[in-house]
């Protein structure tokens, strides 16, 4: 069972109280972008075996969106953090590198 701590209300929420929001830290490519960038923004998602960054919403709770970092293979949760950021905070990256010393964000999986 996956439980994530909502960084807004502080509740340790069960997966079934949350709505998944897919991959985090996407760059939006809207009008004016070329077709490849737009297609990539709409459809192409990383699907790593290992540390991953996701968006979740505390749907059956305070209602806030937040970010979470977890390992898709071991289910270890490295932490949750605010939605008001475009990148993972250093504390989260440190937690990931404590277990995966060579981890590079965005490296090919």
């Amino acid at each position: 069972m996956l439980t994530l701590k909502c960084p807004y209300c502080g509740v340790q929420a069960d997966e079934t109280e949350l709505s998944p929001g897919g991959e985090a830290h996407l760059t939006r490519h809207g009008p004016g972008s070329d077709d490849d960038a737009f297609e990539s923004y709409l459809f192409m998602r990383r699907n790593p075996r290992g540390p991953h960054f996701e968006r979740w919403r505390h749907a059956m709770g305070c209602g806030k969106w937040f970010h979470a970092a977890r390992d898709t293979a071991t289910m270890q949760v490295f932490g949750t953090y605010s939605a008001q950021t475009t990148e993972s905070p250093q504390t989260i990256l440190d937690a990931i590198r404590a277990v995966n010393p060579d981890f590079q964000y965005g490296a090919a999986e």
């Binding site: 209300c9 502080g10 069960d14 109280e17 059956m60 305070c62």
Partner: protein
């Protein structure tokens, strides 16, 4: 408001499940760190301002912390609370709404109250102290739950799913279904 969602339904299992007498509820959304908003709540409810995840009782009713930007007030009169808030906050950016008819309150009484809730919710009720409010789900629908004491639980849900929540609680409270986990 004699026309309640469940007409005062009662189920007597190993936990007593009943629809609570309807009471006024006002939803207040805004910046909870704003001093004028905090003052408006204190003055309107004649109470303290609730800590995060808590429900507190004032002279004029209870105040529940629902989210980092949302409170649920239980005043004696929704209309009076609304006008008091409006009067004190003027045109500040807040939302205050009478949600009395939108919500139903169900009360569980008995030594197994937490156990019956735990059958339908992904919450560790053994670690939920009285006075702490927990928004979660009951089976398939959202609800807000708090314990008044170890044997009394309050559940607030949408009126539209009141029958569903009541039936889930009643089924969990059927005699013979005791587990004895708490």
């Amino acid at each position: 408001m004699s026309d309640t969602a469940l007409q005062g339904a009662v189920y007597r299992g190993y936990v007593h499940v009943s629809e609570a007498k309807p009471r006024p509820m006002v939803s207040l959304k805004g910046d909870l760190s704003d001093e004028s908003l905090r003052d408006a709540v204190r003055l309107t409810m004649n109470s303290d301002f609730p800590e995060a995840l808590s429900v507190i009782g004032g002279d004029k009713g209870q105040v529940a912390w629902m989210a980092p930007d949302e409170l649920l007030l239980f005043p004696e009169s929704a209309a009076e609370a609304l006008s008091s808030i409006q009067h004190k906050l003027g045109d500040a950016h807040v939302l205050a709404l009478d949600v009395s008819d939108m919500r139903t309150e169900i009360v569980l009484k008995g030594a197994g109250a937490r156990e019956v809730l735990a059958k339908a919710s992904p919450v560790d009720f053994g670690a939920l102290p009285p006075g702490t409010i927990r928004r979660t789900r009951i089976a398939q629908v959202p609800a807000a739950i708090w314990l008044a004491d170890a044997e009394t639980a309050h559940v607030i849900c949408f009126r539209s799913v009141a029958r569903y929540v009541f039936d889930v609680m009643a089924m969990g409270a059927r005699k013979g279904g005791e587990i004895g986990v708490f």
